[in-house]
């Protein structure tokens, strides 16, 4: 293990004296720069854009906007500086390991960005005549073929805008299929360990949600599930690998049991990175699964989006998938199947989910990534992601409680609990301690089935040296939490901000700037 700090030096709280307490005139500290809001530095008379002409007089009568709007402008130089300074207050995958479990924060290749900005992709209107966008339709189709092959499924709906939107797409396919069978099944079974989007999606689509019990080793309880199945059950929503970082060994048996009573199997594919190229969900009886292109296929998270959530579908559900989609014809031409042609070519579609064709800018990036790795590279992706996670699990299980470690290897993420920390110390303290060590914390307090959960997903794009350093840091923090180091309770000390008052923010919401 790398000895990061052989002198044993420890961060101290502000107020403990020393240089950290020296106030500066600006509030900035060297490269840690404070930045006001645009409303404090801009003016409504300033613009950073030059125009070639004045606006001609307009006459739209009473509809003319005459009152001040209150939108401050900055010159270009000020604008570049404002946002550059803000950017430096963010942690990012470009800066270091970002071990957020279930979020798959992997390296975002810059070739993806370059390709997405080619004018033939970036400067194309969604409603251009189809003969002028054959390359764009080819990208959608080529990515679709890859996703189908990698998952062993029958079809794919490309238009969902993000993971939760993909879940909705899959669930609507199930609704449409049941409707076509003339059945009104109301119950979707969802494990407690599921992402919050699963039950929310089921409810948004009008289903009643019931829990699926878990076994002591963190997997779906097959016997209990079977006991609950019946003619009122529309299907199950299962995450595999699940949010405890474990592969659902009984997945095929679960699918068979659900199918036997006429239900469908939805799989949350958020964790597909662990198995891409190793297992095909289609071989496990899955009927629908969304794929987060911003996780497995490296499109950037962008500070919270945009995502992209194509949904692969089984033969049973594919006829109900949404329009529009890109189809390839025998003559090699591509055509968008939309309102004009759906009646003839895709008559059972449940309809449209979004205004246009999905997240094209993410499709170009994801396809670029997939072509870079190829079939062999993607398999290596899954293997390295799983190896890295197991390396972390085994390197830390002696200092952090790992509730499922005894049952075998994990997949792409390692799960720890807060058991054994000193009285008054929690997962939150460990997370904030990691910030001072220069890392983004892991996912905390999720999944809900583990007390004080800490879910660590390193991804395959981290080197052994980086993992060793992270293990060293987390080990050091875990020991401090076990020994009750009070400085940890007020971490972070070295971030742009100390712990923020979230209660105040929620109790007296200030959601916009007031002059």
């Amino acid at each position: 293990m790398t000895a990061l700090n052989p002198a044993g030096w420890r961060p101290e709280m502000h107020g403990a004296g020393g240089a950290a307490d020296t106030a500066t005139f600006t509030g900035s500290r060297a490269l840690m720069l404070e930045e006001p809001l645009i409303f404090e530095i801009g003016s409504t008379a300033t613009t950073g854009v030059d125009f070639d002409e004045a606006a001609p007089a307009a006459d739209l009568g009473a509809l003319m906007r005459r009152d001040p709007i209150g939108l401050p402008g900055l010159s270009e130089s000020e604008t570049v500086r404002h946002y550059t300074r803000l950017s430096r207050q963010n942690y990012a995958i470009d800066l270091g390991l970002f071990p957020l479990g279930s979020c798959t924060m992997k390296h975002n290749p810059r070739l993806n960005e370059k390709v997405a900005r080619m004018p033939g992709f970036a400067d194309v209107h969604p409603l251009q005549p189809q003969e002028t966008v054959q390359g764009a339709l080819a990208v959608i189709n080529e990515l679709a073929v890859w996703l189908i092959e990698l998952t062993g499924m029958y079809g794919v709906a490309m238009s969902p805008k993000a993971g939760a939107h993909g879940e909705l797409c899959g669930i609507l396919c199930i609704k449409a299929a049941l409707e076509a069978r003339g059945e009104d099944r109301r119950v979707l079974l969802v494990p407690e360990s599921a992402h919050g989007t699963n039950p929310a999606t089921a409810a948004f689509a009008g289903f009643t949600v019931e829990d699926i019990p878990a076994t002591a080793e963190g997997r779906v309880d097959l016997a209990a599930l079977k006991a609950r199945l019946g003619p009122d059950v529309a299907g199950v929503m299962i995450t595999n690998p699940n949010t405890c970082g474990l592969f659902e060994r009984d997945m095929k048996a679960i699918s068979d049991a659900v199918h036997a009573v006429g239900g469908y199997v939805y799989c949350d594919g958020a964790n597909f990175n662990a198995i891409v190229g190793k297992v095909r969900p289609g071989d496990l009886g899955i009927d629908a699964m969304h794929i987060n292109l911003h996780k497995t296929f490296s499109t950037p998270h962008g500070g919270g989006g945009p995502g992209s959530g194509p949904v692969v579908l089984s033969k049973a559900l594919a006829p109900y998938g949404p329009i529009p989609y890109s189809a390839r014809y025998a003559d090699g031409a591509f055509k968008l199947v939309e309102e004009e042609s759906a009646g003839a070519e895709h008559p059972d579609t449940f309809g449209r989910m979004t205004a246009f064709h999905g997240q094209m800018g993410m499709f170009t990036r994801a396809l670029t990534y997939i072509l870079s790795h190829g079939a062999d590279g993607l398999k290596q992706v899954a293997e390295d992601a799983v190896l890295n996670a197991n390396y972390i699990l085994r390197s830390l299980e002696d200092v952090l409680d790992a509730p499922f470690a005894a049952s075998g290897p994990c997949m792409h993420e390692a799960l720890f609990s807060d058991r054994g920390l000193a009285e008054g110390f929690s997962t939150l303290d460990i997370a904030k301690g990691l910030i001072d060590e220069g890392y983004h914390p892991m996912t905390v307090y999720f999944p809900l089935v583990v007390h004080g959960a800490m879910l660590v997903e390193p991804t395959e794009t981290e080197s052994k040296a980086v993992l060793d350093q992270f293990v060293g840091a987390l080990r050091s923090i875990a020991l401090r939490a076990k020994n009750g180091d009070p400085a940890l309770k007020s971490a972070p000390h070295f971030a742009p901000r100390a712990r923020l008052d979230e209660t105040l923010a929620a109790r007296k919401p200030v959601l916009r700037w007031e002059d």
């Binding site: 409303f39 801009g42 300033t46 854009v49 004045a54 606006a55 307009a58 906007r65 005459r66 939108l71 402008g73 900055l74 270009e76 946002y83 550059t84 803000l86 207050q89 942690y91 990012a92 390296h107 975002n108 390709v115 997405a116 970036a122 194309v124 209107h125 003969e131 993000a162 993971g163 919050g196 989007t197 948004f204 190229g277 190793k278 297992v279 095909r280 496990l284 950037p300 962008g302 500070g303 989006g305 945009p306 449209r352 989910m353 205004a355 999905g358 800018g361 870079s372 190829g374 290596q380 197991n390 914390p441 395959e460 972070p492 100390a498 979230e502 919401p509 200030v510 959601l511 916009r512």
Partner: protein
């Protein structure tokens, strides 16, 4: 494989450290019969950056870019000049490769930007508050309808016939499964909106009335009377804005009494991108904020009393409330919101007003020139930067003939309403600051030729 840092020696050492004889030992929970032995066959293996770039560039060349010639498409996506610094700044790795700001101490950059974005959107729309963005305008529109149902506890929504047909389609898809009742229909090729009809139709079963401004045909109208009718009936007025640049010239929906204003922010900063990713805008009156979907950023202080920002009111959201959440939405459109916000900051109020004025002026010039083409007339009496032409023939064929002549000349209503013959001759034309006088002249000349 350039994105994988582990060396073969690392892998061996790490396998030994975890006590596995081979990588297969770590996949032991995957049933043997489901495990693939080697790479999936029939697919290419890894490729160099040069080879991939060459392949993708060849596909890009098979598209006609909007900048390649005269271009007049709108109908929900608008081509505006985006300053170079916008794209530079959103590629800062600290913005591009950050996650949702769940750890606010090290995400103040994203959070402050979102706070600024929310304020910009609220002011542009004339509302009290805005959220941190939605997927796009069409999904934001449906979420607004659902929000109105939650607030009013009524299930009937009246959709203006001027609402973008794709937005209407999304609502219809969802309503089919949620049981919401939608009253909707196709527009007619007339100068006026159907808002007076809606004002007369709103009743005590109505949850909301949804109007688009400017609407799918480019028409603009005063929604004050409709807002009053909604208020009298206890229904909410939802306004949809697909071209936010318009609000630099015409009054905001909030100012005219809309309760919820949603929109598509793509026109500012984001670019066309063949339909996505875009950025959904969502704003409303303060009293409804706890019924809003999506992420919200709020101001607070840190333990040292310094101002800071956090995601807040998350008890509305799925990760806390699960099946009782206001929406299943998780991801927003953070990076597109950033692009919107940077572009809006560069413009400022003065720049936005000038940009809007130039757009309107160009559109008026184009409408006048195109109306000179024999057999062609302008449907609208008023418009911002988009209007509808009535052609003497089916506009679908005309669009393809124009493309053959190098002109991307608008969106045919036949494509948007394939089953409605009364709309077949309609052509929706958008004219932004990117269209030059030469472009407009070329369009008019080409249209004259193909209609001759």
């Amino acid at each position: 494989m350039r994105y994988l840092p582990l060396t073969p020696d690392d892998r061996s050492a790490m396998l030994a450290a975890v006590g596995a004889a081979s990588i297969d030992d770590l996949f032991v929970d995957v049933p043997a019969e489901a495990r693939l032995d080697g790479p999936i066959t029939g697919l290419p293996n890894h490729a160099s950056e040069l080879a991939v770039e060459r392949h993708m560039a060849a596909l890009a060349r098979q598209n006609r870019a909007a900048g390649d010639g005269p271009f007049f498409l709108g109908a929900g996506a608008y081509r505006h000049h985006v300053p170079a610094s916008v794209d530079h700044l959103i590629q800062r790795g600290e913005f591009l490769t950050a996650y949702t700001p769940y750890q606010p101490e090290i995400a103040q950059g994203t959070l402050q930007m979102l706070f600024e974005f929310q304020t910009q959107v609220a002011r542009l729309f004339g509302t009290d508050v805005a959220n941190a963005s939605m997927y796009d305008g069409s999904t934001a529109c449906w979420e607004a309808i659902v929000m109105a149902r939650r607030i009013t506890k009524r299930g009937k929504a009246l959709l203006s016939t001027g609402l973008h047909p794709h937005y209407r389609s999304v609502a219809r898809t969802m309503a089919k499964y949620t049981g919401d009742q939608l009253v909707d229909g196709d527009p007619t090729l007339e100068a006026g909106t159907d808002w007076a009809v809606l004002a007369a139709a709103v009743d005590t079963d109505t949850s909301c009335v949804v109007v688009q401004y400017p609407d799918i045909l480019g028409r603009i109208d005063d929604m004050s009377a409709l807002a009053a009718a909604c208020q009298a009936a206890g229904a909410l007025l939802i306004a949809v804005v697909t071209e936010p640049v318009a609000l630099g010239l015409i009054r905001s929906p909030g100012e005219m009494g809309a309760d919820i204003v949603v929109g598509e922010g793509q026109a500012i900063g984001v670019g066309l991108q063949f339909g996505g990713p875009y950025v959904g805008l969502f704003a409303c009156k303060t009293k409804y904020v706890r019924q809003m979907p999506g992420r919200l950023c709020g101001e607070t202080v840190d333990a040292n009393g310094k101002r800071g920002f956090v995601l807040t009111l998350s008890t509305r959201e799925q990760h806390i409330r699960r099946e009782k959440a206001t929406s299943n939405i998780c991801t927003n459109a953070g990076l597109c919101a950033l692009a919107f916000s940077i572009h809006m900051t560069l413009l400022g109020e003065a720049g936005l007003r000038q940009l809007a004025g130039i757009n309107h002026g160009r559109a008026r010039v184009a409408a006048a020139e195109l109306a000179q083409v024999p057999g062609v007339s302008v449907v609208n009496s008023g418009f911002f930067n988009e209007f509808t032409l009535r052609l003497p023939v089916d506009a679908r064929a005309t669009v393809h003939k124009l493309a053959e002549k190098g002109v991307l000349g608008g969106v045919s209503l036949g494509r948007l309403y394939p089953d409605n013959d009364a709309l077949a001759n309609g052509l929706v034309v958008a004219v932004t600051e990117t269209a030059t006088e030469e472009d407009i002249a070329a369009f008019a000349a080409a249209l004259k030729e193909v209609l001759a």
